[in-house]
Amino acid sequence: MNTLAATPIIAEEAKSTTRFTVPGMRCAGCIAKLERELPKVAGVNTARVNFSAKRVAIEHDAGLHEDDLIKALLNLGFEAQQVEDNPLGQEAGERKRLMRALGVAGFGMMNVMLLSVSIWSGAEGATRDLFHWLSALIAMPVIAYAGRPFFASAWMAIKHGRTNMDVPISIGVVLATALSLYETITGGPHAYFESAVMLLFFLLAGRALDAEMRTRTRAEIGALLGRMGKSASVIGPDGTARRVPARELEPGMLVLVAAGEALAADGEVEHGASSIDNSMLTGESAPERIGVGSEIHAGAINIAAPIQIRLTRTADDTAIAEIARLMDEAGQSRSQYVRIADRASRLYAPVVHALAALAFVGWMIAGAGWHQSLVIAIAVLIITCPCAMGLAVPTAQVVASGALLKRGLLVKDGSALERLAEVDVALFDKTGTLTLGEPRADIAALDEEARGIALALAQSSRHPLSKGLALTLREAGAAPATLSDISEQSGQGIRGQWNGVTVALERPDDAGEALATALLIGDDSHVLRFTDPMRSDCAPTLSHLAKHGVDASILSGDRNAPVQRVANQLSIPFAAEASPQDKLSALTALKDAGGRPLMVGDGLNDGPALAAAHASIAPGTASDASQQAADAVFIGEKLFPVALAIQVARRTMVIVRQNFGFAIGYNVLAVPLALFGYVTPLIAAIAMSVSSLIVVANSLRLASSANGDAR
């Protein structure tokens, strides 16, 4: 009953199942709360939490609307977002295929080994032949099934005239199996079935771990996604509003944008006045005032009052879609990156294949005859089959990314770790990257009582300023006061009663350009100003990067003055007022000059640059597109995971090279044995497992790489 994937939609009782991502669940208490409290809501049947994916599947009456469920979740203290479909389905499928193959290989390995041990212990004659035949019967289907991921990948590489790690693996496995089968049929003494199956088992373990790491980080990232305008309230001719998904919007529709909502398409304001936060699109942090006739773009967040907008451009014509196209093109170069395992195998495969050929020719010349020469040549291939090589990279990367995950950095895959290790210059966006990207209030003027009232008011509202205020107050240790009759009016503010006094958070009269809110307690009024503070550890992060030889600079779309202020504070160079194209060309220029730039940014305007950079990192608050373009995502208010990523990535590459060193060292010892015909299946099996274990043990040293010398 643990499954989410198999939860059926029970149609006959008019029940339906809706999935929500709930990024806020952190502990067992959250699971218990969600699963116990949700069924108490009218219409909800059961709730089942998947903690790894940070999701909850709610089975409810078909009549119950998703928005009511989101409200119910919010009442329990969890922000939630409906999950449309299963974006992780494909990867989960790949992981499952690998796990099944691993299970089959494990079964085959154990049974074949059982028979092989008896042969090594001295079984002879008819018994040995019987055991060889049994081994063949078990091993052949197991190899055919469990070897598919390698054979398929090797075949693809060869078809495109390239080579990768899977080519020597496949050749080794196929030849070992063929030779063993020949030996079995002719009643020969040596069959290598256990080596072939064991090789597949070890390599599949590495692959399965790798896939597990990717699904895990992608699930975490998936939980962060989906906060942008995915739908809009369209006002029909009769005045009623209905939600329409972004892709079904059409120019000419009239859309109501509530305060705090992100716009899903470009349009012109037809009714109302407000201010919008354009930082996702331009990097400009100060809100922009808009009125009737102003043009606003998809991705902008309406922060003051509800407005009505006549859509002008939708779906693929919006400014966002243009950026998406730029990102697509910029991302092309990254797909051409050759991973270290494949680079190693380009050197490795020709050498071992040449050695095997040489052994064959040498023994022929020495007059050993066809059969023996072939057996020795294949023994060379089996002994050099890159078992440790195949494990060298994935084990190190899996352990390292697990260590980084604990420190709040989600690395998407192994290739990202390899590229992160190579960066030599870092470019930072300002808003949302060096700064928090969320307004924080200046609450120094408030006393304990006022703080409690302000917190009680702020936490009842979903306005971005209220959220920022509530966060600041909670961090300052304020406890909410008890209020009654709380009511919120969009665009006006929120008010309530406190001990018979009217209290409110309102728009101040003299708001001007700066973000501010007024706290009213009876007749007293405090104006609270908001700023977008810098992340607290910018300076140590940058100096840590410098220690690793990575120079940092700012590349921002914001105005010159605020960027300069931040740059001076951190004493790093800067470039301001950069458009998405400017950022992209800055990155391209750096790459053309031979640099390997790291881009750290959050906004949509950073998207093309993130895609074009040699490696890129985005904060967890970044736009969906940016998180998808980035190689890694960091969570929380600290910037330090960025420096940590570089440090751990470099440490990982050191370990990977050591692992390669072990694998090559083992070959240097084992190949002469094979060349002179001393290798038996027993020696091959021992050599293979020992070298694999050494590599795995060495990789495990990375487990603590993200702690300790972190600062």
Partner: protein, 50 residues
């Protein structure tokens, strides 16, 4: 040696049973939520309705 005629099929059957159990566990979603399973053990069963 005739023992082998029994022992080998038994060994294979036991291995196959283990493999079948693994496949069943995977199909029924036992590995879907590993972190959740670790956390669930900490939930008090005061009003045990799960």
């Amino acid at each position: 040696m005739t023992n082998l005629a029994f022992l080998i099929p038994i060994a294979l059957l036991m291995g196959a049973a283990g493999l079948a159990a693994f496949f069943w566990a995977m199909r029924s979603g036992q590995y879907e939520d590993m972190d959740g399973a670790a956390a669930r053990i900490l939930i008090d069963e005061e009003d045990a309705e799960q």
